[in-house]
Subunit: 334 residues, 2 copies
Amino acid sequence: MRIPFEQMKSEIKRVMIKAGLTEKQASMCAKVHAESSRDGVYSHGLNRVSRFIDYVGRGWVDIKAIPTLVKSCGCMENYDGNMGIGILNAKFAINRAMELAKENNIGVVSLRNTTHWMRGGTYAWDAANDGFLSVCWTNTESCMPAWGSKVPCVGNNPFCIGVPRKEGNIVLDMAMSQYSYGKLQVTRLNGDQLPYDGGFDEEGNLTTDPGLIEESKRILPTGFWKGSGFAILLDLVAAVLSNGKPTSEIDKVGKGGGGGSSQIFIAINPNTFSSEEEINRILESTISQLGSAVPTKEGGKVYYPGERTAKTREDSDRNGIIVDETVWNEICNL
Amino acid sequence: MRIPFEQMKSEIKRVMIKAGLTEKQASMCAKVHAESSRDGVYSHGLNRVSRFIDYVGRGWVDIKAIPTLVKSCGCMENYDGNMGIGILNAKFAINRAMELAKENNIGVVSLRNTTHWMRGGTYAWDAANDGFLSVCWTNTESCMPAWGSKVPCVGNNPFCIGVPRKEGNIVLDMAMSQYSYGKLQVTRLNGDQLPYDGGFDEEGNLTTDPGLIEESKRILPTGFWKGSGFAILLDLVAAVLSNGKPTSEIDKVGKGGGGGSSQIFIAINPNTFSSEEEINRILESTISQLGSAVPTKEGGKVYYPGERTAKTREDSDRNGIIVDETVWNEICNL
């Protein structure tokens, strides 16, 4: 089933207003959720709306709260998100980072006590669309065993980097788990196996069986020990720079990660040391090397990060956004 | 065979002076190589010295060159490494980043046209020892297929993050390939298999056989598509911010990556927004959560990044640094 972008956005907006958000809040949040689905990040698009509404109802997200400045130090600023709406807090933070970068070439905003920012790539795409290099990440509650452990004790801490490019932004949006729980669920419901090992079963064997991983909760860090270590460092730097909670403290509060995440938003002027022509040369030389690399399968193609997202977006804009009919009906009945 | 730190350092220093380095240059480089071996990063310690000497002889490293300031913008500075000694250029850059961070809370130094920095972790450990948060990375020549390709077309682009901590710094030092070629070689020579898949064989099957991967040159990116994408973004951001060469342009020059790498060094004052007590709370809460997580094997332990390095260092300091006798004799005869 396919739904046009504007229809999805207005339906989500309606539901959010009903949940108590102001017209402006609802409009901004609905846009981000619809954009996520449009770009193929279904898990954090339409599919995530009902959980957000549920959290608002439980008081785990404070729709009245806005970010407050804690301290400003030149090109760096620290905000408290006051457990407000994650999307709006993050939008505010990346915008502030870009404002600071306009004056200083670099802007760093750290945000504490915020709620789920939904799709992390949102903010790197935003910054790229506005012409800024960006690096953003968040910590989360524990959802993955650290390497060497069999119980969840680190977050999957999504991490994004964006590079602006007129012909198509180059954007990486990766969590530190090899697959999300959403991917495991969808794969299991389809009766499929994962393309590569996604975790361990109860006996500690690597497996591509999504159901066995859901049971053991032993989801695999990206690159085994590497993604585990990277997740730990992202967590610590975010908490230290925002004076916020690390994963270990978010866990103690519980409430669906509602202990309040720590997030970092860095925006940099790409022209600080390079002209447009020089940047163009760097980017096109790389895109060209990747595009002409021998593919693994005949007729295949090597994509740069963000390229497939842009293709999905084009398809969604032309033919409507793919939605799960059950989810769509659920939203329409909220 | 084990060699005391001071003996290793002075032997490397002797060889470097013989190759034409000044006493001071030789002393600094020898220290970094010996520290790498001491910390268990054998591939970039003693084992790497003869290749460095070879590159100096070929003129691929200009031992007379020092970094020159290209442009300064507040807390950001751009240097040309002039194809000088990679270790000394990188030491200079992380020191400048820390100087800038002393004034601005954050310092960002980009370096272009530099040569191999050897062990990337060197600079994150340095910064942590001096009390700074740091993020550093380099691009490299192509040594790994991008995801979807069967030929090398991206670098393994080592990436490091360091967090200072009195009881033991927390330091991540990871390349974007799951294993290094050095690890493949050592594993093959020992007649062993890799613990987890490390690449594809010529037929495109995942394998733990190091020899088959060396033949196919299809080494696996960390986390499959994720490490591939991360490597591409690290490359682009480093090249754009340093106005230097991306991997695709380094490849065109050849000469063992001698086209000149692009590197980024970021140092941040951890106390910008958090007091010592607050940082202590954040770090110890996390270390404690990791340390008490149920291990995969009975009697096992979950380590934080840098913890095992510190253990190896202690062992080396007490019992001497483990060296391959052939390599040691080779250096002694240089």
